[in-house]
Symmetry: C2
Subunit: 229 residues, 2 copies
Amino acid sequence: MRGNLFAVAVDLVVLTVRDDRLHVLLVRRGERPFESHWSLPGGFVQADEDLGDTAARELAAQTGSATGDAVSGHLEQLGGYAAPDRDPRGRVLSVGYLALLPEVPDPVGPLQAAFLPVEDVYGLAFDHDLILADGIERARAKLEYTTLAAAFCPAEFTVTDLRRVYEAVWRTEIDPRNFQRKVTSTPGFLVPTETRVTGGRGRPPQLFRRGPATTLHPPMLREPAAALS
Amino acid sequence: MRGNLFAVAVDLVVLTVRDDRLHVLLVRRGERPFESHWSLPGGFVQADEDLGDTAARELAAQTGSATGDAVSGHLEQLGGYAAPDRDPRGRVLSVGYLALLPEVPDPVGPLQAAFLPVEDVYGLAFDHDLILADGIERARAKLEYTTLAAAFCPAEFTVTDLRRVYEAVWRTEIDPRNFQRKVTSTPGFLVPTETRVTGGRGRPPQLFRRGPATTLHPPMLREPAAALS
DNA sequence: AAAATAGTGTCTGTCAGACATTATTAG
DNA sequence: CTAATAATGTCTGACAGACACTATTTT
């Protein structure tokens, strides 16, 4: 079996929506290389692990395990990154994973970790700027043709909550009336709940849970179709 | 740097349309494990290579290099596969790549290689059945919202050629009239050429080249929208 | 002329974008 | 009652699905 040997790591692009802006979880590196630089959280694949196992383990470790469960959130592979010089220590292949989480507090623990607004993030360690960009683009694209936006919401949420997710991820404004029509008329996207909201200022909103639907057919498009001449 | 070491390989899902059916390039293994089984073509990542370099090199090697060029065809990463037991020789991570090619003859060379219809393919070596399935699904999905179908066509092709690609990949029938309207009205998808066709039986078709457009907006959907109640 | 293939045209229903109105709460 | 937020309704244009006709070649 020819070929060089690689260390294999998993790096996580953990996205959430906080304060109507898309945030990504970063950790400050405590060791060289890139000591004290921000980086994506990640770790090496252990002996008996498949890639998804490593990703789930790291996600649980970084977020206190409350978020890696099946109901909340979403975890999917982005792809492999293996530029020959991406790690000065030697040949390291990193597999990027994308995680979408409801709003959670910044992790507390031995290493400094925080959610930062994605537009403020530059100069990450290694090639993490690239992995992050790929993760954001994947998330943006998937909101168009899947029901994945609900992964950013807590178990029960309103149509307005969901719309704010789209607006934060796409950085656009969406007409609330058309949005409501679209998401409520897509079978299986939203399931109404009996829970009542109280204490708000205006008319209390209907609460929904995620439905079984996973794809949006037809999709919801970021750009309002092709501009004509 | 903790973590186990992996050999890293690239495996190619090389698809083409031949005889109105989707085919995949397979090679018969000449050594253990899985000796004499069909497998996806691939090879190990060499010292100074990035993953895409390895994929392009292997593609050129398997298809006589006439197909790895920039104009023809398409090459993109599928993702990483690293189940702990996927290779009995030890820990091997494979990065799947998807290649779409115009119709080419079966390669000739030292090892037995051929394009086989994808519906006839089962029992590939390693986890190549899985990688192949992911590659096919990726290709099917991408025809919906990109102009990638043209990568299956030669430099000059007719609308009918292009429609046959869609029909082969999706295993559906498409109305030629609606299809013609869709693809010719998408700006930048098809560029008419001056070349005339002669020798055919009916009215000679218009020939087109690929245009600069890469995305289809709005997309063309496999399933005719949601069935209503 | 007949057969074969290429290409255009029309009708209709669905759906997204734009915009106005009604509903239900707290103070 | 007023302010605030939630939700529904209407009009219109773009576009896909269904289907019929015209155009241009070979034999």
